[in-house]
């Protein structure tokens, strides 16, 4: 099974990943609604740090979901007809990728095996392997 | 007796120079930045580059050339032992 991988030494913090993710799923460039969130920042101006929220397909969200709304085959799928927006998946996600919005859970679906974030990452920090 | 005379005649028409490439031009040296090459004696910078396969007019972002650390015109002449540097165009500040 292919997974997203992130090499932070290559990341330039451009946030193009979040922009294209949101474009493909939400119809706008709106990183706050993206299903990937990678940022870099200077901590006290002294250290370059990274916040890397991306789905590693660990499956913890699926295991914890109390209504079995989440399935995992080649990627995560959330059945919004079943999802009650309880937020257990959001709290359990170790990479803080999952977002609850309007009482539904939104999780990366790897763009069905052809992730847009990987295609745009200009320095190839994001790969799918 | 004849051979040494002939070979010394031929040596007079070539000279050795170093060519250094900068930026994206290093691809013409397969990634090496510098080579010592033999070129026609007293040739121009343009001719020297042609002997190593660089036609500056065909390189879209060809910049400029310098000899021994000083910019010269592409048609200026070189001498033995010169260090010829070729740059791509660069911009910004």
């Amino acid at each position: 099974m292919k997974r997203l991988k992130f090499a932070k030494s290559k990341c330039i913090g451009c946030q193009l990943c979040a922009q294209v993710c949101s474009a493909m799923h939400e119809g706008e460039y709106i990183p706050s609604k993206a299903r990937i969130n990678i940022e870099s920042y200077y901590d006290k101006g002294q250290e370059l740090k990274y916040k890397d929220s991306f789905c590693i397909l660990c499956g913890i969200c699926k295991k914890q979901c109390p209504v079995n709304a989440i399935s995992l085959e080649e990627h995560i799928t959330v059945d919004h007809d079943l999802c009650i927006g309880c937020g257990v998946c959001e709290r359990a996600c170790p990479k803080k990728v999952v977002r609850i919005r309007d009482e539904k859970s939104y999780i990366c679906d790897t763009c069905n095996g052809d992730p847009a974030c990987v295609k745009i990452c200009p320095q190839n920090a994001l790969t799918f392997e | 007796m004849i051979l040494p005379v002939l070979s010394s005649l031929m040596e007079r028409s070539i000279m050795k120079i170093t060519i250094q490439l900068r930026g994206s031009l290093v691809k013409y040296f397969q990634g090496e930045k510098e080579r010592t090459v033999e070129v026609p004696d007293n040739c121009t910078a343009e001719e020297a580059l042609r002997t190593v396969g660089i036609d500056w007019t065909a390189v879209k972002n060809f910049g400029f050339v310098a000899v021994n650390g000083k910019r010269v015109m592409i048609y200026d002449h070189l001498k033995e032992g010169d260090e010829l540097k070729a740059y791509p165009k660069i911009s910004g500040g």
Partner: protein
């Protein structure tokens, strides 16, 4: 027609009354000037009456994005910050990197206009539609770095923070505005304008979005353009080297200045060149939506900076008679923290060094004094001791003490680090630049020095050359696209504009907008009383010949300079005095 890409909204903040309201964007102006640089200047031209004091509440700060901001169009993440300049009295527009442009756009605004002045030190907190006026008494007096650190602790690292240092607070005419610690809106005293409004910082977070037509297909197209155009090797050198790549080229090219522009080239450049500096690289960072990632994060002992860039290296290095890389990095770090433009601050210190050595006035510093150089930055930011004099800048310092013959500035903005005696067209570019001596309006070395066969030591054809370069940058910075996407064509710009707005833009449209932006910037200055007499060339370039490098023996004859000016005015349709005629003015 309604163009997409824009938010169609301007946030107007009244700092005097502590109020904020939104208004629609002037879409009719956007159709003529697009965004960023061009749109900011149009607003400035319409809203700032001639003759105002740039440090009074009547001046305004225009923080302007473009239609491409917040989209994945590569290199589109810069913010234009514009105001009338306290250093020159002309218009001024700066371009700052980092992420604030995207936050402003995602918060829902094309532009934020800051009017009036706070009665006491404060900072603005803008979170989407929520605007708050916060107390900054505790922050006032602190360096920009400490300020950013404290505000990030309070509001989060996901918020963008624009701040000034002590230099801006003390209204120093070379004060800058910082973001992301190491990015600046650098020149013309833009930081002093912010300081005159008692505004210590602006903290912004946006959670909204940007819409463009046919977004899924457009995103695929943009991805393709990124890979095929932006990421071609002629642009990616900036990832590997940053602008340190220019050092060798400028030294060989004979335009790397030494000791306050008294000569050029420096055989010691290998001591502080890209290879030496980049050995200390510990990280890489770019701006929002960047593809190229020019930022090199370096640690040289306790000298830490993202940079240094060519201008900072050259002004603090060879132009100061210094060749110590750690000292150069430290200079950059301290200047950033104090909130000082490295170019103007460095030039002023170098000028003081020469005046001291020539016995004109003892400023207590000579070429090569790297400790005093750092100390003087701090004194200048605080206007203390000798810093009170140095904070005046080169023009006023020369008026006060002398040294006019080697005071290099135009209209009061100090000279960037490209020596025009080695590239004559650059003297024209500096002279006619809209905000004083700036190298980013028309980048002449690209054609005259970094080109294989165009002769640099002649006036011939330079008017048209500078015009073409100026049009290219003017439109590019109005979209905006960062300088480092060097290979972008007018055709590509038009393609991207059409993609983002849904309106058909052509190559000719791009050139027309570029030229229009040059006219309106000039019109602003014209209204303030500027004309040919202010498009000057420093005396040193006319009177003294270079000693070293390929341009050894070169100086620029006054007639050659006059000829270049004549040519430039003629190409633009201005009269012999550099005045824009009425028929062009009324169309702006």
């Amino acid at each position: 027609m309604t163009m997409l890409g824009y938010q169609n909204k301007v946030l107007r903040v009244d700092l005097t009354k502590k109020g904020a309201k939104t208004e629609p964007l002037r879409m009719d102006w956007a159709e003529k000037y697009i965004g960023s640089k061009g749109l900011a200047i149009k607003y400035m031209y319409e809203e700032l009456k001639p003759g105002i004091d740039p440090l009074s509440p009547e001046n305004k700060l225009f923080l302007t994005t473009g239609p491409m901001t917040g989209t994945p169009i590569p290199c589109s993440g810069k913010l234009s910050i514009a105001a009338k300049s306290p250093a020159t009295g002309t218009m001024n527009d700066c371009s700052i990197g980092g992420h604030s442009a995207l936050q402003i756009k995602y918060a829902g605004y094309d532009m934020i206009i800051l009017e009036g002045a706070l009665k006491e030190p404060g900072y603005l907190l803008i979170e989407d539609g929520n605007v708050q006026f916060k107390d900054a008494k505790v922050l006032w007096g602190r360096g920009s770095h400490e300020t950013e650190m404290l505000l990030a602790e309070k509001h989060g690292h996901d918020h963008s923070i624009l701040s000034i240092g002590p230099a801006g607070e003390n209204l120093v005419p070379m004060a800058c505005i910082n973001s992301d610690y190491y990015r600046q809106a650098g020149r013309g005293g833009i930081g002093a304008v912010m300081g005159s409004k008692n505004l210590k910082a602006i903290v912004i977070k946006g959670t909204g979005g940007v819409k463009i037509p046919d977004i899924v297909e457009s995103t695929k197209k943009i991805t393709q353009i990124l890979r095929e155009d932006t990421l071609q090797e002629d642009n990616t050198f900036i990832y590997d080297f940053g602008t340190t790549a220019f050092l060798e080229a400028c030294s060989d090219g004979g335009i790397l200045p030494r000791k306050n522009f008294s000569d050029v080239t420096d055989e010691n450049w290998t001591k502080y060149n890209g290879e030496v500096l980049l050995e200390k690289k510990v990280g890489k960072r770019g701006c929002g939506s960047c593809g190229l990632g020019c930022g090199n994060f370096l640690k040289f002992g306790d000298a830490i900076v993202e940079g240094p860039e060519y201008e900072s290296i050259a002004v603090a290095g060879p132009n100061a008679g210094i060749d110590d890389p750690e000292a150069i990095v430290k200079f950059n770090q301290v200047a950033d923290d104090m909130g000082l433009d490295t170019i103007s601050a460095g030039d002023t210190i170098n000028f003081a060094m020469e005046m001291t050595e020539k016995g004109v006035h003892d400023f207590g510093i000579r070429f090569g004094d790297k400790e005093k150089q750092i100390e003087y930055l701090k004194l200048m930011a605080k206007r203390e001791g000798v810093g009170a004099d140095l904070a005046l800048g080169v023009r006023k310092l020369a008026e006060k003490y002398g040294g006019e013959d080697y005071a290099l500035h135009v209209k009061g903005l100090e000279y960037p680090q490209y020596e025009p005696r080695g590239s004559w067209g650059m003297s024209l570019a500096y002279a006619v630049s809209d905000r004083g001596a700036c190298h980013m309006r028309a980048y002449a070395p690209n054609e005259e020095v970094f080109a294989a066969s165009i002769p640099p030591y002649t006036a011939e054809g330079k008017g048209e050359m500078v015009y073409n370069l100026a049009v290219f940058n003017a439109i590019k910075f109005s979209l905006c696209i960062c300088d480092f996407w060097a290979t972008i064509s007018f055709e590509r710009m038009a393609e991207l504009m059409t993609l983002v707005t849904g309106k058909e833009w052509t190559e000719q449209d791009m050139k027309d907008v570029g030229e229009r932006v040059i006219h309106i910037a000039r019109a602003f200055n014209q209204r303030e009383g500027f004309d040919r007499k202010d498009d000057t060339i420093p005396k040193r370039l006319i009177n003294e010949a270079l000693q070293s490098g390929p341009a050894a023996g070169q100086k620029i004859p006054q007639e050659a300079f006059d000829d270049m000016l004549d040519q430039y005015y003629a190409v633009l349709g201005w009269d012999k005095n550099g005045i824009i005629p009425e028929d062009i003015l009324c169309r702006l």
